[in-house]
Amino acid sequence: MHREEQRESVLDPRFPRQTLVSILVFAVVWEVMSHLAPSLGIPAFAIPSFVRIGQSLLTITPIDVAVTLARVIGALAVSFVLGLVLAMAMYRSQSLENYLHPLIRILMAVPVVSWILFAVLWFRGVEFRIGFVLVAVCGPVFLIDSLDAMRGVPRELRGMMRSFRPTTLQYFVKLMLPAIVPNIITSWKINLSLAIRVVTIAELVGAVTGIGHQLAVAQELFSVADVFAWTLVLVALLFLLEAMVIHIENRLLRWRA
């Protein structure tokens, strides 16, 4: 095997050897600790064995996974559309940007917990509360990223496009949106992990379905195995969504290959 090929196989992202090794080491240490825990004075439930976690994984209810997934995707879609439309409006109108930009910066500094408390105090519907929190957290990220990306579109391309006299809609559809696709994809990646974390916290408060709710139940039952299992599902869900975004990215940005 050539040196280059060897190097590629070591770094191949589909089979990252170092990742496998680190996960394996963690799993072995965890399993050993789960057996040694009682002799060390740690309660047995605190570090459940993988057999026990496996049993919890078998009790995972797909409906809760689907509900959380729907909440995340729905809220991200709304955040994306709102963020993009507002970014386009702010790009077109300097005065609108002057008014809105400071406000959005302030919104971005508000902690997630505060948004959850506002949602609980302001709204009655659980779905609306969760949606509100997610949009409040993720919307500004889409907006600021899109606006910055639009401002970064090369002056030469903007001048070329304008010289062909597009309508405002054509200007955005033919130039601005394709030009900012790489930034939009990055925003989606950031917001996916943000939304997965935020939705769980939001579901802890008042929801009767979803992964966050199931985590709350597991906490009430002192079941670390259930918490571990639901957390594994959350992580897997995030990886799955990220893989989908990367797939879309590869399709949309194939021109960069």
């Binding site: 030469e156 391309l157 010289s163 062909f164 006299r165 597009p166 054509q170 394709p178 021109w255």
Partner: protein, 259 residues
């Protein structure tokens, strides 16, 4: 076919306000110019003389601070939409959209006009063939050489068969052989379609080789000379070049240009 309208530039003035100092900078100071239909005009001048500002005003991207540009009875700035599909540009860099293939770049102006998809495809393809790029229709700009990319840019300009063509230093960044070849192609196409063409350039050979007229800009686009190339036999092109060079250097019309 009615052909392109005449261009009248009257008392044109453009002043910019510097954002940092707040001071006013006069880019164009009272320019008068007439360009006849189907004329090929080369505009030469030193860097910073207002050529590019004139180019932006001609396209309608900038509003004149005073005076007017009339193309027929329309203004490229006030009647911006009217010139969609009637005016096309070739820039110094090709300015192709990197996410579009060669054929999709060429069809861009046709999409903006709103022609049917089949017409867009056929026309774009025929222009790429005409410019010798039939094997590269689906290639992305980064897969093409500089000369090929500029060919795509030329195809993009001609695909709408515009009345008026503007080229800003369109061949200056290419090697001499490619530049000469593309200049000839550009000129032949402009003549074939009867377009009025305005070329901004800093290369005197290019101006002499391409233009029916050479307009020499001094500081703030002051009209230093308006040379009809046909009045100069080819054997005197060297003299013409020297006279324009002297005009540019002294910022005064060289007496040898008076013919």
């Amino acid at each position: 076919m009615s052909g392109p309208p005449p261009i009248e530039v009257r008392d044109l003035r453009k002043v910019f306000r510097q954002t940092t100092t707040g001071q006013s900078v006069v880019a164009i100071e009272r320019l008068d110019l007439n360009i006849a239909p189907r004329e090929v005009v080369a505009i030469v001048g030193q860097t910073g003389c207002g050529k590019s500002t004139f180019f932006d005003l001609m396209i309608g991207l900038e509003q004149p601070s005073g005076g007017s540009i009339r193309i027929g009875d329309k203004s490229p700035y006030s009647d911006f939409d009217y010139f969609r599909g009637r005016m096309a540009t070739v820039f110094q860099q090709d300015r192709l959209l990197p996410w579009r293939s060669a054929i999709d770049n060429v069809r861009l102006p046709l999409e903006l006009i709103g022609l049917p998809d089949e017409v867009q495809h056929e026309r774009s393809l025929s222009w790429l063939k005409r410019l010798g790029l039939e094997k590269f229709t689906n290639a992305y700009p980064h897969e093409l050489s500089g000369g090929m990319r500029q060919r795509v840019a030329i195809a993009r300009a001609f695909v709408v068969q515009p009345d008026i063509l503007l080229a800003d230093e369109a061949f200056g960044h290419l090697d001499e052989v490619t530049a000469a070849e593309l200049r000839e192609t550009f000129l032949a196409l402009a003549r074939e379609f009867g377009s009025t063409a305005i070329l901004i350039t800093h290369q005197l050979e290019e101006a002499i080789g391409v233009g029916d007229r050479i307009i020499v800009f001094g500081k703030s686009a002051a009209l230093l000379a308006d040379v009809r190339v046909a009045a100069w036999p080819k054997s005197e092109y060297l003299l013409l070049r020297e006279a324009i060079q002297a005009t540019l250097q002294s910022n005064r019309p060289d007496p040898r240009l008076a013919r």
